[in-house]
Amino acid sequence: MKTLEELNAVREKIKNRVSIQRDTDSGTRIVVGMATCGIAAGATPVFEALKEEAAGIKDGSVEVTMTGCIGICQFEPVVEVTRPGEEKVTYVKMTAEKAKEVFEKHVIGGQPVVEYSLTDTNFYKKQTRVALRNCGFINPEDIDEYIGVDGYQALAKVITTMTPEDVIKCILDSGLRGRGGAGFPTGRKWDFAAKVKSDKKYVCCNADEGDPGAFMDRSVLEGDPHAVIEAMAIAGYAIGSDEGYIYVRAEYPIAIKRLQIAIDQAHEYGLLGKNIFGTNFSFDIQLRFGAGAFVCGEETALMTSIEGNRGEPRPRPPFPAVKGLFGKPTILNNVETYANVAQIINKGPEWFASMGTEKSKGTKVFALGGKINKTGLVEIPMGTTLREVIEDIGGGIPNGKKFKAAQTGGPSGGCIPASLIDTPMDYESLIAIGSMMGSGGLIVMDEDTCMVDIAKFFLTFTVDESCGKCTPCRVGTMRLLEILNKITSGNGEMEDLDRLEELCNYIKSASLCGLGQTAPNPVLSTLRYFRDEYEAHIRDKKCPAGVCKALLSYTIDPEKCKGCTLCARNCPASAITGTVKQPHVIDPEKCIKCGACMDNCKFGAISRK
């Protein structure tokens, strides 16, 4: 493929196949969400069943294709059926049998199977899909489908009609900021690297999504890998680089497979490689696999890792834009950041800047999880409030429980308490309340979540993932965790709270890299908003949420106990005594607080305090 005309020819050929409103003369399109979560929920047999059914339609008017994450993880496996001239119908929690029924009744019979379909579409209503535009829509393993939805148009435009300076100005004007952490303006990053003179420069993509509870980047890579490839080539043109690296988690085998397919297909079409679109611009991409180290999400550590070393960060300056990968000027952006680039070029910076808030432009993808009715991937305009995300999109808290807090930014972020549920989700607002955007994990917690335990959970993660290079992070986070353990085991003293704060502040100011500098955030923010819970653990030796084992006590209500002996038989510590048909008693000395009795009691006689 050497010209724009050739690209457009493919686009025209495919366009109708992938458009939402299907013309009457085109056939029926069935897409099956086959990202990791879909496959894990059993999408493969559904896909196979549908393909088998479709094979029976000899005129080829029914097309079954796989796609990336459709977003609504809660209801996987998800199948979407679009008949010519009709609205798309989303079927949820599919099985092979249900799929066959849908095929029979809807695809052939024209009657949607309402009982299997998603009726409550609030999940999608408040979303604006930019980065996820193609996810759950096109077949990620078919470059033609990407081209059919204007793929590689931006690259063509950039290298045939724009100067590198134009490209950088466009990105700058759009207000796009890094979606992976601190929110550094992407255009400025590119500008720095573009201005450094060097025989070799690199464009890197951080796909080492490591925050527990975050899977936005995985979804993009699995659903729309070409968007990242196209954007990296655009970045290469902008800064004067001919080589890119994608550093992707080895734990994402499907993402890796689809990326590799995408790179190969782009090569085949000449959209990667030498002299793209017949110009002097050449660009190639290498895949590198992370090997299980959260710290490699930090830019210098990522580069150190690509270079073949222990993934330890190095001090800055020199900044990567000056001296990065293999000592050469390098830019690094994350997957979601890149996923916005081509559209900014295509639709113009003003379009992008029209979304979001004054300082945070565009949209942000969040992985919504935890104690929420609809878990999944949501993309919202920056500045959408947390309330809208939780109540409108996520459908609130399950089991009638009360919303307690939301955690953003993973181990680097903080907790947003219920009192701040109207906080707009943008970079500055989140920082101001002691959290951060981070890469986009959004974990919802209800009244059964202990905030001290959550702080402990994140610290355990950080201690595990600290690279061990610098003293504050290596030793400091361990000491933080130990103090938290002391508190949750009922041995805390009030001075420990001061010590926690003092140590947190030190680790923040003295650590070598972003991991250490942000590691205390989960502690600081829970201390800030839930100090009373810490104090309850220390002063009253109680865990208000009933989580911290050492502080729990189980008692049997003699009124409710029927003496069925089930609890006693299930107690691993033989701490429950009583005779048949008589109320039983738990010996607190022997009780190991495992909760087995409570899980087994059919009469709700056992309570935990």
């Binding site: 894990a40 993880c73 899977f215 090997a291 222990r310």
Partner: protein, 164 residues
Amino acid sequence: MKKKQTTIPFKGTQAQEEKLENLIAKNKDVPGALLPILQGAQEIYGYLPKEVIRIIALRMDKSISEVYGVASFYSQFNLSPKGEYAISICLGTACYVKGSGKIMEEFEKELGISSGETTPDGKFSLNDTRCIGACGLAPVCMINSDVYGRLVPADVKKILDKYR
């Protein structure tokens, strides 16, 4: 994270060694080749035996301690052989708040080993893992490449029985 050293003797085959040598020869001059080579070697042997680390170091003109330092840094690299069925319990946030700790306890109880260990018959090894990205199905575990979601402790025995 402290890597456990294996005491199980190395049993490499000629074919594996040939694969390893090819892998090294092919990648040796690629910049930053050490990680891909270690990953490839682990694919060949299932883990990174001492003998293999030594060969990699010598061929790449690196000190053995440097290669070992890299291998021991990343949690993906195993220095001891995994079980025939490698069980990983996700302890990511979503799974954790949904009780994956209890699932882990149940596996430990059922198998009689603790996280990071392999059953004496070499059949099962148990590990905790970072988020595998299936948070919607929390809590989840993986056995080799099979994913099991929405687990409750009572599922553990049933799942294990499939592999026993």
